[in-house]
Protein backbone atom coordinates (compact mmCIF):
# COMPACT_ATOMS: atom_id res chain seq x y z
CA UNK A 1 0.00 0.00 0.00
CA UNK A 2 2.75 2.37 0.95
CA UNK A 3 4.58 1.70 -2.26
CA UNK A 4 1.49 2.44 -4.28
CA UNK A 5 0.95 5.85 -2.80
CA UNK A 6 4.59 6.69 -3.22
CA UNK A 7 4.39 5.76 -6.90
CA UNK A 8 1.30 7.87 -7.14
CA UNK A 9 3.09 10.81 -5.68
CA UNK A 10 5.99 10.31 -8.05
CA UNK A 11 3.70 10.18 -11.05
CA UNK A 12 2.05 13.46 -10.26
CA UNK A 13 5.34 15.17 -9.65
CA UNK A 14 7.13 14.07 -12.86
CA UNK A 15 8.44 17.15 -14.63
CA UNK A 16 7.95 17.66 -18.35
CA UNK A 17 11.60 17.13 -19.20
CA UNK A 18 11.39 13.68 -17.73
CA UNK A 19 8.39 12.78 -19.86
CA UNK A 20 10.20 14.01 -22.94
CA UNK A 21 13.18 11.86 -22.04
CA UNK A 22 10.87 8.89 -21.79
CA UNK A 23 9.48 9.67 -25.26
CA UNK A 24 13.00 9.92 -26.62
CA UNK A 25 13.81 6.50 -25.26
CA UNK A 26 10.68 5.11 -26.90
CA UNK A 27 11.83 6.60 -30.18
CA UNK A 28 15.20 4.97 -30.04
CA UNK A 29 13.64 1.68 -29.09
CA UNK A 30 11.24 1.66 -32.01
CA UNK A 31 12.99 3.38 -34.89
CA UNK A 32 10.88 1.77 -37.55
CA UNK A 33 7.68 2.88 -35.91
CA UNK A 34 8.94 6.41 -35.76
CA UNK A 35 10.20 6.39 -39.31
CA UNK A 36 6.89 5.10 -40.56
CA UNK A 37 4.93 7.57 -38.50
CA UNK A 38 6.99 10.53 -39.68
CA UNK A 39 6.67 9.49 -43.33
CA UNK A 40 2.95 9.05 -42.93
CA UNK A 41 2.50 12.42 -41.30
CA UNK A 42 4.39 14.11 -44.14
CA UNK A 43 2.23 12.40 -46.74
CA UNK A 44 -0.99 13.25 -44.94
CA UNK A 45 0.01 16.88 -44.61
CA UNK A 46 0.93 17.02 -48.28
CA UNK A 47 -2.39 15.49 -49.23
CA UNK A 48 -4.49 17.76 -47.08
CA UNK A 49 -2.69 20.90 -48.16
CA UNK A 50 -2.21 19.81 -51.76
CA UNK A 51 -2.74 23.21 -53.39
CA UNK A 52 0.16 24.62 -51.38
CA UNK A 53 2.76 22.37 -52.90
CA UNK A 54 3.22 23.98 -56.30
CA UNK A 55 0.53 21.87 -57.87
CA UNK A 56 -1.84 22.81 -60.68
CA UNK A 57 -5.25 21.45 -61.63
CA UNK A 58 -5.24 17.66 -61.58
CA UNK A 59 -7.96 17.40 -64.22
CA UNK A 60 -6.68 19.91 -66.72
CA UNK A 61 -5.91 18.35 -70.07
CA UNK A 62 -3.33 19.89 -72.36
CA UNK A 63 -3.22 17.43 -75.24
CA UNK A 64 -0.39 19.34 -76.92
CA UNK A 65 1.92 18.44 -74.06
CA UNK A 66 1.03 14.79 -73.87
CA UNK A 67 3.59 12.19 -72.82
CA UNK A 68 6.37 14.60 -71.90
CA UNK A 69 9.12 13.19 -69.65
CA UNK A 70 9.88 14.80 -66.28
CA UNK A 71 11.21 18.31 -66.73
CA UNK A 72 11.45 21.60 -64.90
CA UNK A 73 7.90 22.40 -65.96
CA UNK A 74 6.33 19.06 -65.15
CA UNK A 75 8.31 17.47 -62.36
CA UNK A 76 6.89 14.00 -62.90
CA UNK A 77 6.08 14.42 -66.57
CA UNK A 78 2.70 14.41 -68.28
CA UNK A 79 0.31 11.64 -69.25
CA UNK A 80 -1.44 10.85 -72.52
CA UNK A 81 -3.92 13.68 -72.03
CA UNK A 82 -1.26 16.20 -71.13
CA UNK A 83 -2.16 16.19 -67.45
CA UNK A 84 0.58 16.91 -64.93
CA UNK A 85 1.56 13.71 -63.10
CA UNK A 86 3.07 15.51 -60.11
CA UNK A 87 -0.18 17.35 -59.42
CA UNK A 88 -2.23 14.22 -59.92
CA UNK A 89 0.03 12.25 -57.61
CA UNK A 90 -0.26 14.76 -54.79
CA UNK A 91 -4.03 15.02 -55.20
CA UNK A 92 -4.16 11.30 -55.59
CA UNK A 93 -2.87 10.99 -52.07
CA UNK A 94 -6.15 12.48 -50.89
CA UNK A 95 -8.26 9.82 -52.51
CA UNK A 96 -6.06 6.91 -51.57
CA UNK A 97 -5.65 8.02 -47.98
CA UNK A 98 -9.36 8.76 -47.67
CA UNK A 99 -10.22 5.32 -48.95
CA UNK A 100 -7.73 3.69 -46.61
CA UNK A 101 -8.86 5.58 -43.54
CA UNK A 102 -12.56 5.18 -44.28
CA UNK A 103 -12.35 1.47 -44.98
CA UNK A 104 -10.34 0.99 -41.84
CA UNK A 105 -12.62 3.00 -39.59
CA UNK A 106 -15.88 1.62 -40.96
CA UNK A 107 -14.83 -2.02 -40.95
CA UNK A 108 -13.49 -1.64 -37.41
CA UNK A 109 -16.76 -0.16 -36.21
CA UNK A 110 -18.98 -2.73 -37.87
CA UNK A 111 -16.67 -5.64 -37.21
CA UNK A 112 -16.27 -4.78 -33.56
CA UNK A 113 -19.98 -4.36 -33.02
CA UNK A 114 -20.70 -7.66 -34.71
CA UNK A 115 -17.91 -9.39 -32.85
CA UNK A 116 -19.07 -8.11 -29.48
CA UNK A 117 -22.66 -9.13 -30.14
CA UNK A 118 -21.78 -12.56 -31.48
CA UNK A 119 -19.25 -13.20 -28.76
CA UNK A 120 -21.73 -12.49 -26.07
CA UNK A 121 -24.91 -14.01 -27.39
CA UNK A 122 -24.03 -17.63 -27.95
CA UNK A 123 -27.19 -18.41 -29.84
CA UNK A 124 -26.18 -16.28 -32.78
CA UNK A 125 -22.68 -17.62 -32.73
CA UNK A 126 -22.79 -20.76 -34.88
CA UNK A 127 -24.96 -19.30 -37.62
CA UNK A 128 -23.16 -15.99 -37.87
CA UNK A 129 -19.72 -17.54 -37.79
CA UNK A 130 -20.64 -19.86 -40.61
CA UNK A 131 -21.76 -16.84 -42.61
CA UNK A 132 -18.53 -15.05 -41.77
CA UNK A 133 -16.49 -18.10 -42.78
CA UNK A 134 -18.43 -18.25 -45.99
CA UNK A 135 -17.73 -14.65 -46.87
CA UNK A 136 -14.07 -15.04 -45.91
CA UNK A 137 -13.73 -18.06 -48.17
CA UNK A 138 -14.26 -15.84 -51.20
CA UNK A 139 -10.96 -14.15 -52.04
CA UNK A 140 -11.29 -10.50 -51.03
CA UNK A 141 -10.34 -9.01 -54.33
CA UNK A 142 -12.81 -11.12 -56.28
CA UNK A 143 -15.55 -10.22 -53.85
CA UNK A 144 -14.69 -6.53 -54.09
CA UNK A 145 -14.59 -6.81 -57.86
CA UNK A 146 -18.00 -8.48 -57.97
CA UNK A 147 -19.41 -5.80 -55.70
CA UNK A 148 -17.98 -3.02 -57.84
CA UNK A 149 -19.55 -4.62 -60.88
CA UNK A 150 -22.95 -4.14 -59.25
CA UNK A 151 -22.43 -0.53 -58.45
CA UNK A 152 -21.55 2.58 -60.31
CA UNK A 153 -17.90 3.60 -60.03
CA UNK A 154 -17.51 6.14 -57.25
CA UNK A 155 -15.24 6.62 -54.26
CA UNK A 156 -18.10 5.83 -51.90
CA UNK A 157 -18.87 2.55 -53.62
CA UNK A 158 -15.22 1.55 -53.65
CA UNK A 159 -15.15 2.07 -49.90
CA UNK A 160 -18.24 -0.10 -49.48
CA UNK A 161 -16.81 -2.79 -51.74
CA UNK A 162 -13.61 -2.87 -49.71
CA UNK A 163 -15.29 -2.78 -46.30
CA UNK A 164 -17.46 -5.83 -46.84
CA UNK A 165 -14.67 -8.40 -47.17
CA UNK A 166 -12.85 -6.90 -44.17
CA UNK A 167 -15.70 -7.06 -41.68
CA UNK A 168 -15.58 -10.84 -41.11
CA UNK A 169 -11.89 -10.70 -40.26
CA UNK A 170 -12.37 -8.01 -37.66
CA UNK A 171 -15.38 -9.86 -36.29
CA UNK A 172 -13.30 -12.97 -35.87
CA UNK A 173 -10.60 -11.21 -33.92
CA UNK A 174 -13.07 -9.40 -31.68
CA UNK A 175 -15.13 -12.49 -31.09
CA UNK A 176 -12.04 -14.46 -30.07
CA UNK A 177 -11.10 -11.77 -27.57
CA UNK A 178 -14.62 -11.56 -26.23
CA UNK A 179 -14.79 -15.30 -25.76
CA UNK A 180 -11.62 -15.33 -23.72
CA UNK A 181 -12.42 -12.22 -21.74
CA UNK A 182 -15.92 -13.34 -20.86
CA UNK A 183 -14.60 -15.81 -18.38
CA UNK A 184 -12.43 -13.22 -16.72
CA UNK A 185 -13.06 -12.74 -13.05
CA UNK A 186 -13.78 -9.07 -13.44
CA UNK A 187 -16.56 -9.71 -15.86
CA UNK A 188 -18.07 -12.48 -13.80
CA UNK A 189 -17.99 -10.23 -10.82
CA UNK A 190 -19.71 -7.45 -12.69
CA UNK A 191 -22.41 -9.78 -13.88
CA UNK A 192 -22.93 -11.07 -10.39
CA UNK A 193 -23.47 -7.48 -9.36
CA UNK A 194 -26.16 -7.24 -12.01
CA UNK A 195 -24.38 -4.93 -14.43
CA UNK A 196 -26.17 -4.97 -17.79
CA UNK A 197 -24.54 -6.64 -20.79
CA UNK A 198 -24.00 -3.53 -22.89
CA UNK A 199 -22.22 -1.88 -19.99
CA UNK A 200 -20.02 -4.92 -19.52
CA UNK A 201 -19.15 -4.88 -23.16
CA UNK A 202 -18.24 -1.23 -23.18
CA UNK A 203 -16.52 -0.87 -19.83
CA UNK A 204 -14.63 -4.10 -19.49
CA UNK A 205 -14.16 -5.75 -22.82
CA UNK A 206 -13.82 -2.90 -25.23
CA UNK A 207 -10.78 -1.31 -23.56
CA UNK A 208 -8.91 -4.58 -23.83
CA UNK A 209 -9.62 -4.61 -27.54
CA UNK A 210 -8.26 -1.18 -28.29
CA UNK A 211 -4.67 -2.25 -28.80
CA UNK A 212 -5.24 -5.20 -31.15
CA UNK A 213 -7.90 -3.25 -33.04
CA UNK A 214 -5.57 -0.34 -33.52
CA UNK A 215 -2.95 -2.63 -34.98
CA UNK A 216 -5.54 -4.42 -37.10
CA UNK A 217 -6.83 -1.05 -38.27
CA UNK A 218 -3.48 0.04 -39.62
CA UNK A 219 -3.12 -3.19 -41.55
CA UNK A 220 -6.63 -2.79 -42.98
CA UNK A 221 -5.78 0.74 -44.04
CA UNK A 222 -2.65 -0.43 -45.84
CA UNK A 223 -4.47 -3.30 -47.48
CA UNK A 224 -7.37 -1.09 -48.58
CA UNK A 225 -5.06 1.38 -50.31
CA UNK A 226 -3.44 -1.48 -52.19
CA UNK A 227 -6.68 -3.20 -53.14
CA UNK A 228 -8.12 0.08 -54.39
CA UNK A 229 -5.13 0.26 -56.69
CA UNK A 230 -5.79 -3.29 -57.89
CA UNK A 231 -9.45 -2.55 -58.53
CA UNK A 232 -8.55 0.55 -60.50
CA UNK A 233 -5.94 -1.41 -62.39
CA UNK A 234 -8.58 -3.94 -63.41
CA UNK A 235 -10.87 -1.11 -64.41
CA UNK A 236 -13.34 -1.45 -61.55
CA UNK A 237 -12.09 1.11 -59.08
CA UNK A 238 -12.55 4.82 -58.56
CA UNK A 239 -13.92 6.67 -61.58
CA UNK A 240 -11.21 8.04 -63.88
CA UNK A 241 -12.28 11.63 -63.29
CA UNK A 242 -11.10 11.19 -59.72
CA UNK A 243 -7.31 10.80 -59.61
CA UNK A 244 -6.26 8.07 -57.20
CA UNK A 245 -2.87 6.43 -57.37
CA UNK A 246 -4.43 3.24 -58.61
CA UNK A 247 -6.26 5.13 -61.32
CA UNK A 248 -3.25 7.04 -62.53
CA UNK A 249 -1.29 3.83 -62.82
CA UNK A 250 -4.17 2.04 -64.52
CA UNK A 251 -4.38 4.72 -67.17
CA UNK A 252 -0.64 4.66 -67.59
CA UNK A 253 -0.31 0.92 -67.93
CA UNK A 254 -0.33 1.08 -71.71
CA UNK A 255 2.62 3.45 -71.61
CA UNK A 256 5.01 1.46 -69.47
CA UNK A 257 7.56 1.44 -72.28
CA UNK A 258 6.80 4.84 -73.74
CA UNK A 259 6.23 6.90 -70.63
CA UNK A 260 7.08 4.84 -67.58
CA UNK A 261 6.92 7.92 -65.38
CA UNK A 262 3.13 7.68 -65.37
CA UNK A 263 3.33 4.41 -63.48
CA UNK A 264 6.61 5.03 -61.69
CA UNK A 265 5.80 8.01 -59.48
CA UNK A 266 2.35 7.09 -58.21
CA UNK A 267 3.73 3.60 -57.66
CA UNK A 268 6.56 4.91 -55.53
CA UNK A 269 4.19 7.06 -53.50
CA UNK A 270 1.79 4.19 -53.08
CA UNK A 271 4.49 1.78 -51.98
CA UNK A 272 5.98 4.36 -49.63
CA UNK A 273 2.64 5.15 -48.03
CA UNK A 274 1.64 1.54 -47.60
CA UNK A 275 5.09 0.77 -46.26
CA UNK A 276 4.86 3.62 -43.78
CA UNK A 277 1.47 2.43 -42.58
CA UNK A 278 2.69 -1.13 -42.25
CA UNK A 279 5.72 0.01 -40.26
CA UNK A 280 3.47 2.01 -37.96
CA UNK A 281 1.31 -1.06 -37.55
CA UNK A 282 4.30 -3.22 -36.75
CA UNK A 283 5.66 -0.66 -34.38
CA UNK A 284 2.36 -0.29 -32.59
CA UNK A 285 2.12 -4.02 -32.28
CA UNK A 286 5.54 -4.24 -30.69
CA UNK A 287 5.05 -1.21 -28.50
CA UNK A 288 1.61 -2.18 -27.29
CA UNK A 289 2.77 -5.76 -26.94
CA UNK A 290 -0.07 -7.23 -28.92
CA UNK A 291 0.34 -10.86 -29.84
Amino acid sequence: MAIASRDLALDVATPRADRLARAGRALRRHPTLMAGAVALVVIVIAAVSAPLWWTGDPLQMRPIQRLRPPSAEAWFGTDHFGRDIYTRTIYGARISLTVGAAVSAISLVFGTTLGLVIGFYRRLDTVMMRVMDGVMAIPAILLALALMALMRASVRNVIIALVIPEIPRVTRVVRASVLSLREHLMVEGARALGVGTPRILVRYILPALVAPLLVQGTYICASAILVEAYLSFLGAGTPPVVPSWGNIMAEGRAYVQLAFWIILFPGIFLAATVLAINLVGDGLRDALDVR
Binding site: T32, R130, V131, D133, G134, V135, M136, A137, I138, P139, A140, I141, L142, L145, A146, L147, A149, L150, A222, L226, V227, A229, Y230, F233, L234, G235, A236, G246, M249, R253, V256, Q257, F260, I263, G267, L270, A271, V274, L275, N278, L279, D282
Partner: protein, 313 residues
Amino acid sequence: MLAEVLRRLMATIPVMVVVAIAVFALLHVTPGDPAVIIAGDYATADDIARIRAKLGLDRPFLTQVGIWLSQVVRGDLGTSIFSGLPVSTLIKQRAEATVSLTILAMLISVGVGVPLGIVAAWKKGSWIDRLVMVVAVSGFSMPVFWLGFVLVYVFAISFAWLPVQGYQPLAAGLWPFLRHLILPAVTLSVIYMALVARMTRASMLGVLGEDYIRTAFAKGLPPGRVLVRHALKNASLPVVTIIGIGFALLIGGAVVTESVFALPGLGRLTVDAIVRRDYPVIQGVLLIVSGVYVLINLVIDMLYVVLDPRIRY
Protein backbone atom coordinates in the same frame (compact mmCIF):
# COMPACT_ATOMS: atom_id res chain seq x y z
CA MET B 1 -8.73 -39.52 -36.88
CA LEU B 2 -10.81 -40.48 -39.84
CA ALA B 3 -13.92 -39.59 -37.95
CA GLU B 4 -12.44 -36.21 -37.25
CA VAL B 5 -11.65 -35.61 -40.91
CA LEU B 6 -15.16 -36.57 -41.89
CA ARG B 7 -16.65 -34.39 -39.22
CA ARG B 8 -14.70 -31.42 -40.46
CA LEU B 9 -15.61 -32.10 -44.05
CA MET B 10 -19.24 -32.10 -43.10
CA ALA B 11 -18.75 -28.85 -41.27
CA THR B 12 -17.57 -27.19 -44.45
CA ILE B 13 -20.83 -27.91 -46.22
CA PRO B 14 -22.90 -25.22 -44.54
CA VAL B 15 -20.06 -22.81 -45.24
CA MET B 16 -20.12 -23.68 -48.91
CA VAL B 17 -23.87 -23.33 -49.06
CA VAL B 18 -23.58 -19.88 -47.59
CA VAL B 19 -20.90 -19.02 -50.14
CA ALA B 20 -23.05 -20.35 -52.94
CA ILE B 21 -26.08 -18.36 -51.92
CA ALA B 22 -24.04 -15.25 -51.22
CA VAL B 23 -22.42 -15.43 -54.64
CA PHE B 24 -25.74 -15.98 -56.32
CA ALA B 25 -27.43 -13.19 -54.42
CA LEU B 26 -24.61 -10.81 -55.14
CA LEU B 27 -24.93 -11.14 -58.84
CA HIS B 28 -28.67 -11.00 -59.08
CA VAL B 29 -29.13 -7.82 -57.12
CA THR B 30 -27.80 -6.00 -60.06
CA PRO B 31 -28.50 -3.15 -62.43
CA GLY B 32 -26.52 -4.75 -65.26
CA ASP B 33 -28.28 -7.17 -67.53
CA PRO B 34 -26.53 -9.79 -69.66
CA ALA B 35 -29.67 -10.22 -71.73
CA VAL B 36 -29.22 -6.80 -73.28
CA ILE B 37 -25.65 -7.50 -74.27
CA ILE B 38 -26.55 -10.86 -75.72
CA ALA B 39 -29.54 -9.51 -77.56
CA GLY B 40 -27.24 -7.66 -79.88
CA ASP B 41 -27.28 -4.28 -81.49
CA TYR B 42 -30.67 -4.40 -83.20
CA ALA B 43 -32.69 -5.98 -80.44
CA THR B 44 -36.09 -4.69 -79.47
CA ALA B 45 -37.52 -4.80 -75.99
CA ASP B 46 -39.36 -7.97 -76.97
CA ASP B 47 -36.18 -9.70 -78.02
CA ILE B 48 -34.56 -8.83 -74.72
CA ALA B 49 -37.55 -10.10 -72.78
CA ARG B 50 -37.48 -13.33 -74.74
CA ILE B 51 -33.80 -13.85 -74.00
CA ARG B 52 -34.29 -13.18 -70.33
CA ALA B 53 -37.01 -15.79 -70.25
CA LYS B 54 -34.77 -18.25 -72.05
CA LEU B 55 -31.97 -17.71 -69.57
CA GLY B 56 -34.38 -18.06 -66.72
CA LEU B 57 -33.57 -14.57 -65.51
CA ASP B 58 -37.18 -13.54 -65.15
CA ARG B 59 -38.10 -16.17 -62.58
CA PRO B 60 -38.30 -15.32 -58.89
CA PHE B 61 -34.98 -15.16 -57.11
CA LEU B 62 -35.50 -18.16 -54.85
CA THR B 63 -36.50 -20.31 -57.79
CA GLN B 64 -33.32 -19.40 -59.58
CA VAL B 65 -31.26 -20.19 -56.47
CA GLY B 66 -32.98 -23.52 -56.12
CA ILE B 67 -32.41 -24.47 -59.73
CA TRP B 68 -28.79 -23.49 -59.59
CA LEU B 69 -28.09 -25.36 -56.37
CA SER B 70 -29.69 -28.51 -57.69
CA GLN B 71 -27.51 -28.28 -60.79
CA VAL B 72 -24.35 -27.70 -58.80
CA VAL B 73 -25.00 -30.71 -56.63
CA ARG B 74 -25.15 -32.80 -59.77
CA GLY B 75 -21.87 -31.36 -60.95
CA ASP B 76 -23.35 -29.09 -63.59
CA LEU B 77 -22.04 -25.60 -63.17
CA GLY B 78 -24.12 -24.15 -65.94
CA THR B 79 -23.28 -22.65 -69.30
CA SER B 80 -21.56 -19.38 -70.01
CA ILE B 81 -24.05 -16.85 -71.28
CA PHE B 82 -21.61 -15.39 -73.73
CA SER B 83 -19.58 -18.17 -75.19
CA GLY B 84 -22.13 -20.91 -74.86
CA LEU B 85 -19.47 -23.22 -73.46
CA PRO B 86 -20.10 -25.13 -70.23
CA VAL B 87 -18.62 -23.37 -67.23
CA SER B 88 -16.79 -26.53 -66.20
CA THR B 89 -15.07 -26.60 -69.59
CA LEU B 90 -13.99 -22.99 -69.22
CA ILE B 91 -12.66 -23.67 -65.75
CA LYS B 92 -10.78 -26.75 -66.94
CA GLN B 93 -9.23 -24.73 -69.75
CA ARG B 94 -7.99 -22.06 -67.41
CA ALA B 95 -7.24 -23.95 -64.25
CA GLU B 96 -3.80 -25.18 -65.22
CA ALA B 97 -2.31 -21.72 -65.62
CA THR B 98 -3.61 -20.42 -62.31
CA VAL B 99 -2.75 -23.55 -60.35
CA SER B 100 0.76 -23.66 -61.80
CA LEU B 101 1.32 -19.99 -61.09
CA THR B 102 0.01 -20.21 -57.54
CA ILE B 103 1.96 -23.31 -56.62
CA LEU B 104 5.18 -22.01 -58.11
CA ALA B 105 4.71 -18.68 -56.33
CA MET B 106 4.07 -20.44 -53.07
CA LEU B 107 7.15 -22.63 -53.47
CA ILE B 108 9.31 -19.58 -54.09
CA SER B 109 7.82 -17.66 -51.18
CA VAL B 110 8.21 -20.48 -48.72
CA GLY B 111 11.58 -21.47 -50.10
CA VAL B 112 12.92 -17.96 -49.68
CA GLY B 113 10.71 -16.66 -46.88
CA VAL B 114 11.32 -19.38 -44.32
CA PRO B 115 15.12 -19.22 -44.40
CA LEU B 116 14.95 -15.43 -44.29
CA GLY B 117 12.71 -15.61 -41.26
CA ILE B 118 15.02 -18.09 -39.55
CA VAL B 119 18.07 -15.93 -40.15
CA ALA B 120 16.26 -12.83 -38.93
CA ALA B 121 15.14 -14.60 -35.80
CA TRP B 122 18.56 -16.02 -35.07
CA LYS B 123 20.24 -12.66 -35.49
CA LYS B 124 17.51 -10.76 -33.77
CA GLY B 125 18.16 -7.09 -33.26
CA SER B 126 21.10 -6.98 -35.63
CA TRP B 127 21.21 -5.07 -38.90
CA ILE B 128 20.51 -8.30 -40.75
CA ASP B 129 17.29 -8.67 -38.86
CA ARG B 130 16.26 -5.09 -39.56
CA LEU B 131 17.16 -5.37 -43.22
CA VAL B 132 15.27 -8.58 -43.76
CA MET B 133 12.21 -7.22 -42.08
CA VAL B 134 12.22 -3.94 -43.97
CA VAL B 135 12.70 -5.75 -47.27
CA ALA B 136 9.91 -8.12 -46.33
CA VAL B 137 7.54 -5.31 -45.46
CA SER B 138 8.43 -3.46 -48.64
CA GLY B 139 7.57 -6.50 -50.68
CA PHE B 140 4.28 -6.61 -48.90
CA SER B 141 3.59 -2.93 -49.61
CA MET B 142 4.25 -2.78 -53.33
CA PRO B 143 1.41 -3.07 -55.79
CA VAL B 144 1.81 -6.41 -57.57
CA PHE B 145 1.28 -5.03 -61.05
CA TRP B 146 3.84 -2.30 -60.56
CA LEU B 147 6.45 -4.85 -59.60
CA GLY B 148 5.35 -6.98 -62.51
CA PHE B 149 5.88 -4.18 -65.00
CA VAL B 150 9.28 -3.36 -63.53
CA LEU B 151 10.38 -6.98 -63.83
CA VAL B 152 9.05 -7.24 -67.37
CA TYR B 153 10.87 -4.09 -68.33
CA VAL B 154 14.15 -5.28 -66.87
CA PHE B 155 14.19 -8.97 -67.65
CA ALA B 156 11.99 -9.38 -70.65
CA ILE B 157 12.55 -6.18 -72.56
CA SER B 158 15.93 -4.79 -71.61
CA PHE B 159 17.72 -8.09 -71.23
CA ALA B 160 15.34 -10.27 -73.22
CA TRP B 161 16.15 -13.28 -71.06
CA LEU B 162 12.57 -14.22 -70.43
CA PRO B 163 9.34 -13.97 -72.38
CA VAL B 164 7.10 -10.96 -71.96
CA GLN B 165 3.83 -12.77 -71.76
CA GLY B 166 1.96 -15.91 -72.43
CA TYR B 167 1.73 -19.35 -71.02
CA GLN B 168 3.04 -22.72 -72.15
CA PRO B 169 1.30 -25.74 -70.67
CA LEU B 170 3.40 -28.43 -69.04
CA ALA B 171 2.63 -30.67 -71.99
CA ALA B 172 4.75 -28.40 -74.17
CA GLY B 173 7.86 -29.24 -72.17
CA LEU B 174 9.23 -28.43 -68.74
CA TRP B 175 11.58 -25.64 -69.72
CA PRO B 176 9.11 -23.59 -71.85
CA PHE B 177 6.57 -24.07 -69.07
CA LEU B 178 8.95 -22.72 -66.45
CA ARG B 179 10.34 -19.97 -68.64
CA HIS B 180 6.93 -18.40 -69.09
CA LEU B 181 6.07 -18.72 -65.43
CA ILE B 182 9.24 -17.42 -63.78
CA LEU B 183 8.50 -13.70 -63.96
CA PRO B 184 4.83 -13.98 -62.97
CA ALA B 185 5.61 -16.39 -60.15
CA VAL B 186 8.41 -14.21 -58.77
CA THR B 187 6.16 -11.15 -58.97
CA LEU B 188 3.40 -12.90 -57.12
CA SER B 189 5.66 -14.54 -54.58
CA VAL B 190 7.06 -11.27 -53.27
CA ILE B 191 3.93 -10.45 -51.25
CA TYR B 192 3.57 -13.88 -49.84
CA MET B 193 7.26 -14.12 -49.09
CA ALA B 194 7.04 -11.16 -46.77
CA LEU B 195 4.24 -12.71 -44.78
CA VAL B 196 6.00 -16.02 -44.52
CA ALA B 197 9.27 -14.42 -43.43
CA ARG B 198 7.60 -12.33 -40.76
CA MET B 199 5.60 -15.21 -39.38
CA THR B 200 8.60 -17.51 -39.37
CA ARG B 201 10.65 -14.96 -37.53
CA ALA B 202 7.97 -14.31 -34.94
CA SER B 203 7.37 -17.96 -34.40
CA MET B 204 11.05 -18.84 -34.24
CA LEU B 205 11.67 -16.08 -31.73
CA GLY B 206 9.09 -17.67 -29.50
CA VAL B 207 10.71 -21.05 -29.77
CA LEU B 208 14.32 -19.90 -29.60
CA GLY B 209 13.74 -18.59 -26.12
CA GLU B 210 12.78 -22.00 -24.85
CA ASP B 211 15.00 -23.94 -22.50
CA TYR B 212 15.47 -26.96 -24.68
CA ILE B 213 16.92 -24.84 -27.45
CA ARG B 214 19.40 -23.26 -25.15
CA THR B 215 20.33 -26.72 -23.95
CA ALA B 216 20.88 -27.85 -27.51
CA PHE B 217 23.20 -24.92 -28.18
CA ALA B 218 24.99 -25.55 -24.91
CA LYS B 219 25.50 -29.16 -25.88
CA GLY B 220 27.54 -27.89 -28.82
CA LEU B 221 25.23 -28.95 -31.63
CA PRO B 222 25.91 -27.06 -34.86
CA PRO B 223 23.59 -24.05 -35.12
CA GLY B 224 22.14 -25.19 -38.43
CA ARG B 225 21.01 -28.44 -36.94
CA VAL B 226 19.52 -26.79 -33.93
CA LEU B 227 17.67 -24.26 -35.99
CA VAL B 228 16.24 -26.61 -38.51
CA ARG B 229 15.72 -29.86 -36.72
CA HIS B 230 14.61 -28.63 -33.39
CA ALA B 231 13.44 -25.07 -33.57
CA LEU B 232 11.80 -25.08 -36.94
CA LYS B 233 9.76 -28.15 -36.32
CA ASN B 234 8.20 -26.59 -33.29
CA ALA B 235 7.81 -23.22 -34.86
CA SER B 236 6.16 -24.55 -37.97
CA LEU B 237 2.61 -24.50 -36.76
CA PRO B 238 1.89 -20.82 -37.19
CA VAL B 239 3.85 -20.83 -40.43
CA VAL B 240 1.60 -23.50 -41.83
CA THR B 241 -1.38 -21.45 -40.72
CA ILE B 242 -0.05 -18.47 -42.60
CA ILE B 243 0.35 -20.57 -45.70
CA GLY B 244 -3.32 -21.43 -45.53
CA ILE B 245 -4.46 -17.89 -44.93
CA GLY B 246 -2.04 -16.59 -47.50
CA PHE B 247 -3.63 -18.67 -50.21
CA ALA B 248 -6.49 -16.23 -50.41
CA LEU B 249 -3.97 -13.43 -50.84
CA LEU B 250 -2.22 -15.38 -53.56
CA ILE B 251 -5.41 -15.88 -55.48
CA GLY B 252 -6.16 -12.19 -55.28
CA GLY B 253 -2.67 -11.39 -56.47
CA ALA B 254 -2.97 -13.99 -59.21
CA VAL B 255 -5.92 -12.11 -60.69
CA VAL B 256 -3.77 -9.04 -61.19
CA THR B 257 -0.62 -10.94 -62.22
CA GLU B 258 -2.50 -12.85 -64.89
CA SER B 259 -3.66 -9.55 -66.28
CA VAL B 260 -0.14 -8.14 -66.50
CA PHE B 261 1.43 -11.24 -68.06
CA ALA B 262 -1.53 -12.24 -70.21
CA LEU B 263 -1.78 -15.68 -68.60
CA PRO B 264 -4.94 -17.59 -69.50
CA GLY B 265 -5.95 -18.27 -65.93
CA LEU B 266 -9.03 -18.31 -63.72
CA GLY B 267 -8.32 -14.80 -62.51
CA ARG B 268 -8.69 -13.24 -65.92
CA LEU B 269 -11.65 -15.47 -66.65
CA THR B 270 -13.41 -14.18 -63.56
CA VAL B 271 -12.59 -10.53 -64.20
CA ASP B 272 -13.90 -10.80 -67.77
CA ALA B 273 -17.01 -12.57 -66.55
CA ILE B 274 -17.66 -10.01 -63.85
CA VAL B 275 -17.35 -7.13 -66.26
CA ARG B 276 -19.75 -8.78 -68.70
CA ARG B 277 -22.09 -10.06 -66.02
CA ASP B 278 -21.71 -13.62 -67.23
CA TYR B 279 -23.42 -14.97 -64.12
CA PRO B 280 -22.88 -18.71 -64.54
CA VAL B 281 -19.14 -18.24 -64.99
CA ILE B 282 -18.80 -15.90 -62.02
CA GLN B 283 -20.84 -18.19 -59.83
CA GLY B 284 -18.98 -21.27 -60.91
CA VAL B 285 -15.51 -19.82 -60.45
CA LEU B 286 -16.22 -18.18 -57.10
CA LEU B 287 -17.75 -21.40 -55.86
CA ILE B 288 -14.80 -23.51 -56.99
CA VAL B 289 -12.19 -21.10 -55.67
CA SER B 290 -13.91 -20.81 -52.31
CA GLY B 291 -14.23 -24.56 -52.19
CA VAL B 292 -10.53 -24.95 -52.79
CA TYR B 293 -9.77 -22.42 -50.10
CA VAL B 294 -11.96 -24.22 -47.60
CA LEU B 295 -10.34 -27.53 -48.48
CA ILE B 296 -6.86 -26.11 -48.09
CA ASN B 297 -7.72 -24.86 -44.65
CA LEU B 298 -9.07 -28.27 -43.82
CA VAL B 299 -5.84 -29.89 -44.94
CA ILE B 300 -3.87 -27.46 -42.86
CA ASP B 301 -5.97 -28.22 -39.82
CA MET B 302 -5.15 -31.84 -40.36
CA LEU B 303 -1.48 -31.02 -40.76
CA TYR B 304 -1.49 -29.57 -37.28
CA VAL B 305 -1.92 -33.02 -35.88
CA VAL B 306 1.09 -34.28 -37.77
CA LEU B 307 3.26 -31.36 -36.79
CA ASP B 308 2.31 -31.10 -33.18
CA PRO B 309 1.49 -34.42 -31.57
CA ARG B 310 0.19 -32.55 -28.57
CA ILE B 311 -2.83 -31.53 -30.55
CA ARG B 312 -5.49 -34.15 -30.46
CA TYR B 313 -9.04 -33.84 -31.56
